[in-house]
C-alpha cells in the first residue's frame, strides 16, 4: 500500500489535489456562523450521504439489470462525493472535531480528516439518520428509500445554497443537480413499481411501510428553513401519481442508531482499521 505512489489522480477526477479535497478553498468560518454548529450540520449531512452511498454500493453486481447496477452505483458515487466534501468541511470548521469524535485514531495515521471520520469513528459518534442505516431490503424498498431521501434532501439543499458559509453553499449548489437526478430516477422507478404488476406493487408498498416509521426523524433532520413543507408536497405528489397512500404507522421510538449501522461500519471500516498506517 504505502509503496504505491499516490500522485495519480485518476480516482479523483480532475481535483487539483487528490490529497486535500478543499485545497485552494478559503475554509475560514464567516462571522456570525458558529463553527461548532456548522461542523455538526456538515457532519450530519455528510454521514447520511456516506452511509446511504455504502448501502447503494451493496447493489453492485446484484441489481436486477446491468443498467440499474450502474445507475445505483452512479448515485452512490454522487453521495460519496458529497460526503467527502461535507466531512472535510466539518473538520476544517471545527479543528477539535476529529480529536473529540475519533479519540483512538492510530498514532501517526496519515488519514486526512474526512477519512479519519469515515473509517476510524465508532458507531455512537455518527450523526446519520436511521432512515439510511437500515438494510436495503429488495429493489422496491431501495427505490422507495432513495425516492424519499432524495426528495427530502433536495428540498433542504436547495435552501443551503443560500447558507452564509460559502463552502457549504458551494457544496449544496453542486449537490442540488445530483439530487435532482436521484429524485427523478428513483421517482420514475417508484411510479413504475407502483403501477406495474401486482407483485411489484406489493413489494413497493411493503418496502415503504417498512421504512415509514423512520421517516419522521429524516423529515425533521432536513427541515432547513421550511424545507420540510416543500418536501412533503413533492412526496404527496409522487404518492398521488403512483396511487399510493401514506403508510399509517407510528414513528419509530428506539435507540439513536440501529444495528444496521454497526454492521455496515464493521464492514466499511474493516480494511482501514486492519491497516491503520496505510496510504491509499
Amino acid at each position: 500500500m504505502s509503496e504505491i505512489p499516490v500522485e495519480s489522480p485518476w480516482a479523483f477526477g480532475a481535483a487539483p489535489d487528490p490529497e486535500d479535497v478543499l485545497a485552494g478553498v478559503d475554509t475560514r468560518v464567516p462571522e456570525g456562523v458558529g463553527p461548532v454548529a456548522l461542523a455538526e450540520l456538515c457532519l450530519a449531512l455528510g454521514d447520511d450521504a456516506l452511509v446511504l452511498a455504502h448501502r447503494l454500493s451493496e447493489w453492485c453486481s446484484n441489481a436486477p439489470d446491468l443498467e440499474d447496477d450502474i445507475a445505483l452505483a452512479n448515485v452512490a458515487l454522487d453521495l460519496l462525493g458529497q460526503a467527502r466534501l461535507l466531512l472535510a468541511r466539518a473538520a476544517a470548521a471545527d479543528p477539535g472535531l476529529v480529536d473529540r469524535l475519533v479519540p483512538d485514531l492510530p498514532e501517526g495515521s496519515p488519514a486526512p480528516p474526512e477519512d479519519a471520520l469515515a473509517f476510524f469513528r465508532d458507531p455512537d459518534a455518527w450523526r446519520c439518520t436511521r432512515f439510511v442505516e437500515v438494510d436495503n431490503g429488495d429493489f422496491a424498498q431501495t427505490t422507495a428509500r432513495l425516492a424519499v431521501f432524495a426528495t427530502v434532501r433536495l428540498a433542504a439543499f436547495a435552501r443551503l445554497v443560500e447558507h452564509p458559509d460559502p463552502v457549504l453553499s458551494a457544496v449544496a449548489a453542486k449537490a442540488v443537480k445530483e439530487l435532482a437526478y436521484h429524485r427523478d430516477h428513483a421517482g420514475r422507478w417508484f411510479l413504475v413499481l407502483a403501477q406495474g404488476t401486482a407483485e411489484s406493487r406489493r413489494r413497493l408498498l411493503e418496502g415503504l411501510a417498512a421504512l415509514w416509521p423512520l421517516h419522521e426523524e429524516l423529515a425533521r433532520a432536513y427541515d432547513v428553513d421550511g424545507a420540510r413543507a416543500e418536501a412533503e408536497v413533492v412526496l404527496d405528489q409522487l404518492l398521488a401519481v403512483s396511487g399510493v397512500e401514506r403508510p399509517e404507522v407510528a414513528a419509530y421510538d428506539g435507540p439513536r442508531h440501529t444495528d444496521g449501522l454497526t454492521r455496515l461500519l464493521a464492514e466499511m471500516q474493516s480494511v482501514a482499521r486492519a491497516h491503520p498506517l496505510g496510504v491509499w
Binding site: 439489470d65 446491468l66 443498467e67 450502474i70 445507475a71 452512479n74 427523478d184 430516477h185 420514475r188
Partner: protein
C-alpha cells in the same frame, strides 16, 4: 432470472459529444420505456462527461442491411473512383469538409 420473465426491449443509443456535430452510435441497452432508456443511457454512456445530448431509438425500429447482401449492395461502388471528390483542390481553413 426465471424463464417466464421477459427481458426489457433493446434500445440503440446515440450521443452527441461536446465538440461533436452529430449524434454518434455508442451502443445499446435494455430499458422498460423510452424515458427510462434515456436515463439508463445517461448513466451507462455519459459517465465521463462525454455527452451534451442523447437520442435513444428502439432497436426494433432499425432496419439493417444483411451481411448476405454485402456484395450486391456495396461491391458495385468499389471501382467507381470518379465518385470520390479527389480531383478538387480543397481550400485551406475550410472546416468540417
Amino acid at each position: 432470472m426465471s424463464g417466464q420473465e421477459r427481458e426489457w426491449p433493446l434500445w440503440e443509443v446515440f450521443v452527441r459529444g461536446k465538440r461533436g456535430l452529430n449524434h454518434v452510435h455508442v451502443g445499446s441497452l435494455h430499458a422498460a420505456d423510452d424515458e427510462m432508456a434515456l436515463r439508463h443511457a445517461r448513466d451507462v454512456y455519459t459517465r465521463r462527461g462525454e455527452g451534451v445530448s442523447i437520442w435513444v431509438v428502439p432497436s426494433a425500429a432499425v432496419t439493417a442491411s444483411s451481411p448476405d447482401e454485402k456484395d450486391p449492395l456495396f461491391a458495385p461502388a468499389g471501382d467507381k473512383v470518379y465518385r470520390h471528390p479527389t480531383f478538387y483542390d480543397v481550400p485551406e481553413g475550410v472546416p468540417h469538409l
